[in-house]
Symmetry: C2
Subunit: 637 residues, 2 copies
């Protein structure tokens, strides 16, 4: 098992390129806006009450708890995003704000170390009585992640100490020892957070707890049944249609052969398993993760890197079931897929993880946010008919435009923390080598080495690397779509390299003047669904580099379902600087069925087609021009 390290956000200076806009939006808009949301300062937005909940828990304000049982996690995710943002760019005002929030959190912690505003304010006698539904461990996990990130960003230990005390409190209540609850979280998150705590503090208790939560899951007798019986059968959320699989408690984790149930839970679990494998060396966990990943890629992932085929339970369904218009494809689930693949790349270097990560990152993740950073999708469909969203109750979750904010505000802050820590996903390093998984312009310090990358990827396919001197290898991921269509040169001359699991490896004594060039063929291409992908037989999609394209009504008129792409058509790439924050449009010839003004739905002869010029735009830019139809998979004719 490999043990590849990832660089912190502080080790990375983002350069000019594709990602600058997104990161700037998060720093300048999303983080400040979210702060206002957390403090209920945005007129018309659903109240968050998250900061007020902490004030009440600290005994500094009267009133009632308000919000979801996991409302605390919004504050945690904001703090984590702030920490990464401070690493990237000093901001005293923001740091002071964060320090004040951390002081408040510390005051909200109870004498015994317990920290959770829902139970402290609303049901103090019900602590730890409903691990399945009530997210105490989940909220603790997010706050641990924030604590580690803030410590790494600022060197300030206050929140880390708070969460250390909370961890010890949890250990006093839950664990394998007699007299403790033999329990697990209903929503995974604390597992991966405890690994971070372990790495930040070196405290082996954190590792022991992470192992316990991972290993305990799926065991018989079922803890969730036991605790529900103890509660007299009451619940906060009813047990889901998927039963125990909803929270991946149907089997011990090493026996789960596919990601099942609630997608975010499943992928947070898998991330925790992979991270734990790395620090504990437990190869059985790595093997289990590989099985789940292989199944995911082959059978359960959308072309956009979306996951979760049904909104009922925001969940996986079964192999090859990938409907375009009823799925969930939560933004958070694709973010979680980035977490999972990041964790796998640290222990099992294989470009397939980075390919899946790239798919999620460039498509579903950034489609989650509007181009102005003010609106967010939770659900990321591959096909939208606005009338269905309004009039078919089975599709009412498929919003045709991004709303401003949600009562359950998981996706926006999750996206913020992802975008503020891209270096963790793009790079890795160890003693022998530096690893490049994603091509993000900028300069990164990887231990004692520095990698500088100049690129407009994925707008263009050229990468120019300069490296700090020394003898070491650089691993460059060759994306699956590139295959052999790449060119590597050093100082304008061919350079020898060898391939290993999708990475081109060049090892040498690097000179300060070395210029390493990598060029991909990223020209637009057709992608066909595997025939087993029931919903899309007879259709085709366009991609350019890692970017999935779609048709929108705004460019192509309505009834996109009647449009076909001519199978012989050339695809032209047109740069549009001022459209949708700068995109390559794809133009191609196609055809469209002529509308029939018949009083019948059923015709005696096939409706005729007329030629039509089609305009495709990147999927991540859809729904930025008001409500309209959209399709990714187009008829292939």
């Amino acid at each position: 098992m490999k043990k590849i390290k990832v660089p912190n956000a502080s080790a990375f200076k983002l350069g000019e390129g594709f990602w600058q806009r997104f990161v700037k939006l998060v720093q300048e808009d999303v983080i400040p806006y979210q702060w206002e949301i957390l403090n209920d300062l945005v007129p018309g937005a659903e109240p968050s009450h998250a900061i007020k909940n902490f004030k009440m828990a600290a005994g500094e304000m009267d009133g009632e708890f308000y919000g979801m049982v996991f409302q605390d996690s919004d504050v945690a995710k904001w703090l984590e995003a702030v920490a990464y943002s401070l690493e990237a760019k000093k901001d005293e005002k923001l740091e002071t704000l964060a320090d004040e929030v951390i002081d408040l959190i510390a005051r909200a912690q109870q004498d015994d170390g317990y920290l959770n505003t829902y139970f402290t304010v609303k049901e103090p006698d019900k602590r730890w009585t409903n691990l399945r539904d009530c997210h105490e461990l989940y909220c603790a996990g997010h706050m641990m992640e924030a604590a580690v990130a803030y410590y790494e960003a600022t060197g300030k230990k206050k929140l880390l100490d708070v969460m250390n005390r909370m961890a010890k409190h949890i250990d006093s209540v839950i664990g394998p020892e007699k007299g403790k609850l033999h329990g697990i979280p209903g929503h995974q998150e604390i597992e991966l957070a405890l690994v971070k705590m372990y790495e930040a503090t070196g405290d082996s208790l954190m590792l022991k707890m992470a192992e316990y939560f991972i290993n305990e899951r799926g065991k018989k007798p079922n803890f969730f049944h036991i605790e529900q019986e103890k509660r007299g059968g009451s619940y906060h959320f009813p047990l889901h249609a998927f039963g125990e699989a909803y929270a991946q408690n149907h089997l011990p984790v090493r026996e789960q052969l596919a990601l099942e149930g609630h997608s975010v839970r499943a992928l947070y679990m898998a991330t925790g398993m992979a991270d734990l494998a790395r620090v504990s060396g437990d190869k059985t966990l790595l093997d289990a993760c590989k099985v789940m990943f292989d199944n995911l890629i082959a059978h359960r992932m959308y072309i956009t890197g979306g996951v979760g085929s049904t909104h009922i339970g925001e969940a996986f369904t079964f192999d090859d079931d990938l409907p375009n218009d009823t799925m969930y494809n939560e933004t958070c689930a694709s973010i979680a897929l980035c977490f999972f693949t990041r964790a796998m790349l640290q222990i099992d270097l294989d470009s397939r993880y980075a390919d899946a990560m790239e798919r999620a990152l460039f498509n579903t993740c950034i489609a989650g946010m509007s181009l102005d950073g003010h609106n967010f999708f939770y659900v990321n469909p591959l096909e939208v008919w606005p009338e269905s969203s309004h009039k078919d109750p089975g599709k009412k979750h498929v919003l045709p435009v991004r709303p401003a904010w949600f009562g359950c505000a998981c996706c926006p802050p999750n996206l913020a923390r992802l975008l503020m820590s891209l270096s963790k996903y793009a790079y890795g390093y160890d003693r022998q080598a530096v690893y490049v998984h994603q091509y993000i312009a900028g300069e990164v310090t990887l231990g004692e080495r520095v990698v500088h990358l100049k690129t407009a990827y994925p707008y263009e396919g050229n990468m120019l690397f300069t490296l700090s001197p020394g003898k070491y290898a650089i691993y460059l991921r060759i994306p699956d779509y590139v295959k052999n269509s790449f060119v590597l040169s050093l100082n304008n001359a061919p350079v020898s390299y060898h391939m290993e699991k999708g990475y081109a490896i060049i090892e040498r004594e690097w000179q300060p003047s070395d210029k390493l060039n990598l060029t991909f063929d990223i020209k637009a291409r057709r992608v066909y669904p595997n025939p087993r992908l029931r919903e899309n037989v007879g259709r085709v999609a366009l991609m350019r580099g890692p970017i999935v394209y779609c048709l929108e009504e705004k460019d192509n008129g309505h009834q996109l379902n009647t449009i076909a792409l001519d199978y012989r058509a050339e695809i032209n790439e047109i740069w549009k600087k001022d459209k949708l924050s700068g995109i390559y449009e794809l133009h191609a010839q196609g055809s469209q069925l002529i509308p029939q003004e018949s009083d019948s739905q059923y015709l005696d002869s096939p409706p005729k087609r007329v030629e039509k010029s089609l305009i495709f735009i990147p999927y991540y830019t859809w729904a930025n021009r008001g409500e309209n139809e959209m399709v990714v998979w187009v008829m292939d004719k």
Copy 2:
């Protein structure tokens, strides 16, 4: 407005042909089986308790009410089917049984005329407090229909008297007068039943009540809100996603431009409106029905005559939204479509009503029952993937095989009463003419005239009529699919006729020796979806006569989604006497995508196709050979 009469079941002697099997099944299997169900005599079946509920209401048994709030209607529908069955075939034992049930019902009636076992047994003080949810008027309506049918079948008035008293009781509680509830039923049914009561008894109170319920619907202030407020907000069923449109209470009936909400409610309402138009002469009701029918045919009806595009609320959604795999298409809704079109044919002779009726009758209605009469579908999909039904909670209502019986047993007895009274749908008559809407072999007495029809339709396209002597016209519906491909001859010589709204009309002085021959071209044909029918663009279906065909996995292997019908292929009709109770199979050349054992869902090149011989079977025979895939709309390639 026309006033065409329909013949009772007693006026009809079914002859040898397509329908004999179905009617025999109902008489010999369904009615006796249903009796056992009503009496909880079937081991393993969900308890009905319906007869026991009446015994308790009569004070002859102790215990608790059990079942749905509308459980009484199962007994009513059974009695109505029995009545039609007795008309067709004397059966003393069955009649004695029915008499005893009617005696029991009479004893369950309260002193003030009230009849409803749920409220009598369970909540006697809550009568008439929840018209929206509690089906008191709905159950009364069904029992009125049974009463009229039983009176017409046997001349026995006992149940008619019971329901007369119940009607008067209702009138004492609900109506326009001060002090009465200004209420309407949450589930329409009593409207059409009251028209039947009026026609059977001549009592104008019945007519007045029917008019009141029709005219009151959709008025402001909203009665359902008023009564809910009076109840302190409690409900039996929560208000539905569709809001007031769920029970068609969103607008006055004459302003409703489409059938909306719960499909059965909507179509029972429309039937009541058309029947009321006929007896009252109110042309505004006829006009409203025409608008709703035109919209239905053009935008909201499946090729199978199924209606109800979503299982959420068993409801209509919006124009041209006809998904193949998530719809409801309840058997009862297609039965209700037969009711509605029957009512329209009595007042507005136009073959389009009979065409829609035929579509529903030969496809969704009879698909509702297994070929052995023991199992029933409520939901009639056009595409089934068994794994979806098992593992996608959004499709769990789409059963891949017919189950034995349901706790909510509406469809089987509804189908029984339809099949036992086919003459009402096939024929009409008035002073000038006899009308033939459906071609069902047998002899029917239409007032003073007798029509005899020998035919194997829809197996074959030949009809041989003999008519009782006299001068009158015969109207013969030419189905929409036949167009001009029919031949009419009298005594083997051409005969002159003229066409009127889809009917061929021959008027003459009929001789006893006259043989009138009508031949349709019913050879298999392709049907194409209107391009606006989003779900089926690029697909084609096969029909032969009125019968819709489908592919089943049993005949064609799995992954039916990968199959295409060759657009050039000839379609061969093969008679299979011993298959699925006797069918014409359709054979044609097509192709199938070659499975790709790739570890990716997304391919660089289009998957290849191989030739394949396809076997289509009638849709109504699907799922009679165990669980398997099925599709109606096949790729057109």
